[in-house]
Amino acid sequence: CRLNIDGLLVYFPYDYIYPEQYSYMLELKRTLDAKGHGALEMPSGTGKTVSLLSLIVAYQRAFPLEVTKLIYCSRTVPEIEKVVEELRRLIDFYEKETGERSSFLALALSSRKNLCVHPEVSSLRFGKEVDGKCHSLTASYIRAQRHSDSSVQTCRFYEEFDALGRQVPLPAGIYNLDDLKSFGRRRGWCPYYLARYSILHANVVVYSYHYLLDPKIADLVSKELAKKSVVVFDEAHNIDNVCIDSMSVNITRRTLDRTQSNIETLQNTIQRIKDTDASRLQEEYRRLVEGLKEANVARETDVYLSNPVLPDEILQEAVPGSIRSAEHFVGFLKRLLEYLKSRLRVQHVVQESPPQFLKDAFEKVCIDRKPLRFCAERLRSLLRTLEIADIADFSAVTLISNFATLVSTYSKGFTIIIEPFEDRTPSIANPILHFSCMDSSIAIKPVFERFQTVIITSGTLSPLDIYPKILDFRPVTMASFTMTLARACLCPLIVGRGNDQVAISSKFETREDIAVIRNYGNLLLEMSSVVPDGIVAFFTSYQYMENIVASWYEQGILENIQRNKLIFIETQDAAETSMALEKYQEACENGRGAILLSVARGKVSEGIDFVHHFGRAVIMFGVPYVYTQSRLLKARLEYLRDQFQIRENDFLTFDAMRHAAQCVGRVIRGKTDYGLMIFADKRYARADKRGKLPRWIQEHITDSSLNLTIDETVQLSKHFLRDMAQPFKEDQLGLSLLTLDQLQSEEMLKKIAQIAHQI
């Protein structure tokens, strides 16, 4: 239908609309009008994506000069593909309504592994292998070699694309990953480079967070995207961690050993070239004198080893003389390596700031800050000059040089921690140097600065006010939406004690308590006999799950559960877990019913939906706090307290509750879906915890369900499930589902105004 959103004509590709979708679009429009940023929390399964797309595409059409591009970032490949499919639906609807072919170009971009069509390269299993192999076929010097020596292998898809692909833009249309591949196959063009080239003039780009947030990648892929773009981060509840991850480096002894051999290879190669083709090194030297600016204008295929955020001023300068010659640079690297080795030979934990580290380095081995800053760039140039084909082998030395650049560039927001051993195994020496980013705003800062509107949205983004703080931005709109429901299809229950009245909790003091473990087991056992089809249970950590599963096994609880349902368990191996997950779905599908034991913060909790019968109940065993003894975490908490005035406990609880909300939110994926959300820890009853759950869940927690026993929980669950199992009557209309006419009524608009809670 066609909607009027605050004066904007929006095509919405469905006959009906949820009230919250309308409300969401209103907020979104306001944000776009103000050319500011926004944070919006909208329950999962209420059609958030389609609302976003409908409004922004409509806005783009109405004001083509104000908003030129939509950059939609999502977390996982399936999510990315889903977004593109929703967009396809929308554009199809446009074409049907307007009767003209749209000139809209939208495409998904993903890594080479998902886009490569080269028969040999695409058959490789790991992304890293694909990247490496691709590089060895498409690097500029390889292609140059081919001119003289036709036996050198290159990639015909890239050659074709390079020859023809840039002349004519990609025809208008919606290109998902598979569409790009089949288009590439048809034309004989490389879909990956085609996509990377086409995002510059596409109306909508859908890709993963990393292409904007990871400086190593953002620099090459997203640098030239127009300023007048709208950036959307969907599923953004974890965005701060993504930011931090992309800026942090860990160095182990193994890294250093591999660096050592990397450096040796470099040295030998230099020696060889010196004997045969000394002019090549001289040429490089000359270039470096002229400054990195030119070096940076490399061919797109070479930029595989990009540097971490390089401040612009560096690019203006020339590379310092001390590392300009290849031999000197290798010598410099050697010194750096020796220094790092010495730092790893520690007996006790060391924590220091980057300036302290630099000072120490200067005192001990006379390494200056300036050449360190150029380290990454210098290495890149060297690798190119030496024409090293298999670049994946040099990941260790690249890591070290990236670390060098980062540590010398940022004096604030980072910390260095050197641990001689793991906490759990103090007897085994396994020294690690953590260079850890504590400030998530560093990585995302360029995004906020560059693009006129950035929308941060997710199903669980509570408490909303903390995100602007930790990401350091000023939103013009912040709103949390509730879910209008014709029937209460979610049932959050807080189980506080077992039938023996022993309080159940995963808190540190009682987590080994046999009574707690038994009560957890009884809860799962009871639920397995009541809940149909699938049950998903989440534990606070992998280790905790292992321990509990082992003692359930010893107590025979698991065997009793097996009488009701099959049991599948997440493991640390992704492939194994995928298999378990598929079998779990199979068992739910064929009516046998199954239980999936999983871990909060794990891959399952972050990326897999359990719609309908795949998840009729989710049980959250305990409150998923992070491992608080970790020094990295402590450092970050300290930093947050000092810089952003966020109290440690507030942050820890916020972090635990957002993960709990993520886990329980996995079962509700729409208004026709239904599911139990069982919080098995008495601490959930406290206001400071409960208050941090998303509003759409909080609303359904009644005072009477705050401290239930297992028996009471089972009774309530039975009742709820029986209720829900009745056929869904078509009484949604006018309440949680609106026609166009209903939407226009005065009364309804008033009601809708209450859905959004501005913060």
Binding site: K82, D178, Q562, A580
Partner: protein, 581 residues
């Protein structure tokens, strides 16, 4: 007593006879000399007592029998098929006995009295029986169960059974002769549709119990063994390799329960364990399952993230870097988790194996039709369907078009052309049809009503009234009369008579054309059956009718049917006589 003895062939020397107690259905040897029996004797055990009489126990190909000392006839004989199970006296007991329990519930005890080798004798007999019984058991059980089930499910059949077999009009064998085979076929069809799955907790049912003296006892039933074999083919293979020549069954299972294979939380220490290989095979199986990857890309966690951080980047150094610094406990915990995943997958697979095989077959047939696509092109479409499912909001759309069920055509040409007619000339050509349509159209066009010859409206309406229910012409229907005149129980009895007569007649008519001696014999017997039926069932009924002064001849049709059969028989017999002379 149960009609389950259809497999029995009465050969010379064997007779059907009542035992001393007078129970029906036990077979007792009454022949004069054992030599006349053509059966192979597998084992003879002397000094076996039965009912305080010394004698010898004979195990033969199809039966077990016992003859008192000094006599050459068996006084006890049981077909293996009739034996439900054997029981032995516990090891510590002074009397060494073997008990046979029959399906009927009776028991027969044999007491082994040889001083030196009683135990050995008993065990020899037991072991042999153990091998023999299952072979017969299955068949007999299935048949009995099947018949029992049929009778219970079908009250009509049960009534018929009572009417014909219990009242000894025909024998049970005759009754079942063509029923069982017919029914077992369609039963096997339903059987293949759904097989009972395996409980995931089958190993929980063998929880050990302490026997009070430092030992553990596992209760193992054949169901559990079956479950173990189905879930863990590797164990079955081991069983096949080792039992009985290397190990006895008992030893095998003892070792199974002792092995770390059963106790998966124990880490394997040595490889001399019989089941070490099974563990390895399982691990391989798990690996290959994992290696196959998942079909649904939406749950593929390995390719979930678009661009994972390279090694060395990121805040967490990932899962514990190397396995060697894991503690033993952690390893055993991980083993438990692996085991559960594997176990569940295997249990799930036992239920799906059949389906898969069928699907594969279907896939093959469809591929021969040329409908299948290259797997490479096929795969994205699965993904596409999943994607579409994932973005669907059913309630946002108007329910105008429910998805129609797709027509699944195996052979599309047959659908569009229809079956080829067997006899073409029976079908009108399209020209014929056009002609006749034209003809009819013509006639209709030319039709002129002859208004002078129609009925007057009043006559027409009386005629209609007379022909409507309750009208003058509609009275006197016999249907009503029977319903109202005959009491309910008589009606019921009549119904039974019809059914019984129908059954007998069916048997009778199925003998024609009589072209084998067997059928000849049968048709004669069936005729006598019919006569017996008339005398024992029909005539009493008729008399009863007369006593109740029911004038209508209710049994007329039945008699007619019987008469027709007699006539047919008579005709056949005279013809046969003629041919003979």
């Amino acid at each position: 007593m149960f009609p389950g003895r259809s497999g029995l062939k009465v050969t010379g020397g064997w007779v059907l006879m009542d035992e001393e107690k007078g129970e029906v259905g036990n077979l007792v040897w009454a022949g004069t000399a054992m030599a006349t029996s053509s059966e192979e004797v597998l084992l003879v055990v002397k000094r076996v007592r039965q009912k305080k009489q010394d004698g010898a126990l004979y195990l033969m190909a199809e039966r077990v029998a016992w003859a008192p000392e000094g006599k050459d006839r068996f006084s006890v004989s049981h077909l293996y098929a009739d034996i439900r199970c054997q029981k032995i006296s516990p090891d510590g007991k002074s009397k060494i006995q073997l008990q046979l329990v029959l399906h009927t519930g009776e028991t027969t005890n044999f007491h082994f009295t040889s001083e030196s080798s009683a135990m050995k004798d008993r065990d020899a007999a037991k072991d042999l029986l153990q091998q023999l019984l299952p072979k017969f058991k299955r068949k007999a059980n299935k048949e009995l169960e099947e018949k029992n089930r049929m009778l219970q499910e079908d009250p009509l059949l049960f009534q018929l059974y009572k009417d014909l077999v219990v009242s000894q009009v025909i024998s049970a064998e005759e009754f079942w002769a063509n029923r069982v085979s017919m029914n077992s076929v369609d039963h096997s069809l339903t059987n293949s549709k759904q097989e009972v799955g395996i409980s995931a907790a089958f190993l929980a049912d063998v929880r050990p119990q302490t026997d009070g003296c430092n030992g553990l006892r596992y209760n193992l039933t054949s169901d559990i063994i079956e479950s173990i074999f189905r879930t863990y083919p590797a164990v079955k293979q081991k069983y096949g390799e080792n039992v009985p020549h290397n190990l006895t069954e008992k030893e095998f299972w003892t070792r199974f329960f002792q092995s770390h294979y059963f106790h998966r939380d124990r880490i394997s220490t040595g490889s001399q364990d019989l089941f070490a290989e099974c563990g390895k095979l399982d691990e391989q199986g798990l690996k290959s399952m994992v290696g196959q990857g998942v079909r649904n890309s939406m749950v593929d966690l390995t390719s979930l993230e678009d661009k994972s951080l390279d090694e060395g980047y990121g805040i967490s150094s990932g899962p514990s870097t190397s396995s060697h610094n894991k503690t033993l406990k952690e390893n055993s915990n991980a083993a438990i988790i692996k085991r559960f995943n594997h176990h569940s997958a295997m249990v799930l697979a036992t239920g799906l194996r059949k389906q898969d095989a069928q699907n594969e077959q279907n896939g093959e047939t469809s591929s021969t039709d040329g409908n299948s696509k290259d797997s490479d092109f096929f795969q994205p479409s699965v993904k596409k369907v999943k994607l579409q499912e994932a973005i669907e909001y059913a309630d946002l759309e108007q329910e105008n078009g429910r998805k129609p069920v797709a027509l699944n055509l195996k052979k599309s040409d047959r659908y569009s052309h229809g079956p080829t007619p067997v006899q073409c000339q029976q079908y009108a050509t399209s020209q014929d049809i056009i002609n006749s349509v034209n003809c009819i159209r013509h006639e209709i066009a030319d039709y002129t009503p002859r208004l002078t010859q129609v009925l007057s409206s009043s006559t027409a309406s009386t005629a209609i009234a007379a022909l409507s229910p309750g009208g003058v012409l509609m009275q006197g229907g016999t249907q009503q009369a029977i319903n109202q005149m005959v009491p309910n129980d008589t009606q019921c009895e009549l119904k039974h008579l019809y059914v019984a007569a129908g059954e007998l007649l069916r048997h009778f008519w199925s003998c024609f054309p009589v072209n084998t001696p067997f059928l000849e014999e049968k048709v004669v017997k069936m005729r006598s059956n019919l006569e017996r039926f008339q005398v024992t069932k029909l005539c009493p009924f008729q008399e009863k009718m007369q006593r109740q002064y029911l004038s209508t001849n209710l049994t007329g049709h039945l008699e007619e049917m019987l008469q027709t059969a007699y006539n047919k028989f008579h005709a056949w017999q005279t013809r046969r006589m003629l041919r003979k002379t």
